[in-house]
């Protein structure tokens, strides 16, 4: 019975793995939208962590769930603005591969 139930550390492991996958996508993908998707994966990993701590450490206060709620709202706003930027980049560069977009580099 000692090993039988899912503990907080299980959720943290899952979240860590998902976050690492997201980091890998952000670092390696060439397509800007694929990078945005990887960022969404990282947001989800963070939300799992917040809700896990809320469930195990402060179950009565629900602080983690409230913050996860705000994270979701901010992620939605980020997705809207970032996709508008991607659309604009597509119009002026005829492509959204980020390794071609280097006009701000000097």
């Amino acid at each position: 019975m000692a090993e039988a139930t899912i503990s907080l550390n299980h959720y943290l492991m899952l979240s860590g793995i998902l976050f690492t996958i997201g980091v890998f996508g952000v670092l390696t993908r060439r397509n800007a939208i694929a990078i945005l998707m990887s960022v969404e994966l990282m947001f989800n990993a963070v939300n799992i962590t917040l809700v896990a701590f809320s469930d195990f450490v402060t179950p009565a206060a629900l602080t983690g769930q409230i913050i996860a709620l705000f994270t979701i709202v901010v992620a939605a706003a980020e997705a809207a603005v970032a996709l508008a930027v991607v659309l604009l980049i597509y119009r002026s560069f005829k492509g959204i591969n980020v390794d071609r977009i280097n006009f701000m580099k000097w």
Binding site: N9, I21, T28, M37, A60, E78, Y90
Partner: protein
């Protein structure tokens, strides 16, 4: 079939779905497949939320992420990519160093979190989580709530202004 066994099974199946979906999102050559696997992953994360007794968040996850954000992503894919052209290289030349860095990072996380003891509380969760969240949002967290609504409005207007044609 005990209750604990079923809980474990659910957790591992959902975790497998989350991780496999995430790997496909990151590694798929076809961007549209990535978007579909993103939806799959987000659904599985909603399942994880249910396991953590965050029922309201699970519903919000499905509504906002699966409904809105993933749809936005698919719109972006449709508007900006030639889907037939999937033979292009989809990762940059830093893939292997990035892989090494990520492995190191993951190892660091596992080393740090594997059996770290946390202060597990035995307090009972509120019986009606959604009601409790609503009350908290209208009392203790009313300022962040209002700020985040202004942020949403700003993002909406900003997205329209950025994306509109001159």
């Amino acid at each position: 079939m005990s209750d604990a066994f079923l809980t474990n099974l659910t957790f591992y199946v959902l975790s497998f779905c989350v991780i496999a979906g995430g790997i496909f999102v990151v590694s798929s050559r076809n961007l549209f497949h990535s978007a579909v696997f993103l939806v799959f992953t987000l659904f599985s994360v909603a399942g994880i939320f249910v396991m953590q007794h965050a029922y309201f968040l699970a519903a919000i996850q499905v509504l906002i992420y699966v409904g809105a954000v993933a749809m936005l992503m698919i719109f972006g894919v449709m508007l900006t990519t030639q889907l037939t052209n999937v033979r292009l290289r989809h990762v940059n030349e830093q893939a292997w160093p990035a892989f090494a860095v990520c492995l190191f990072f993951l190892g660091f996380l596992v080393y740090g979190l594997w059996d770290t003891p946390f202060k597990i509380s035995q307090a009972a969760a509120p019986a009606e989580v959604t009601r409790a969240i609503g009350t908290l949002l209208m009392t203790e967290y009313v300022l962040p709530f209002e700020v985040v609504s202004v942020l949403l409005l700003v993002a909406l207007i900003g997205a329209v202004v950025i994306a509109k044609k001159e």
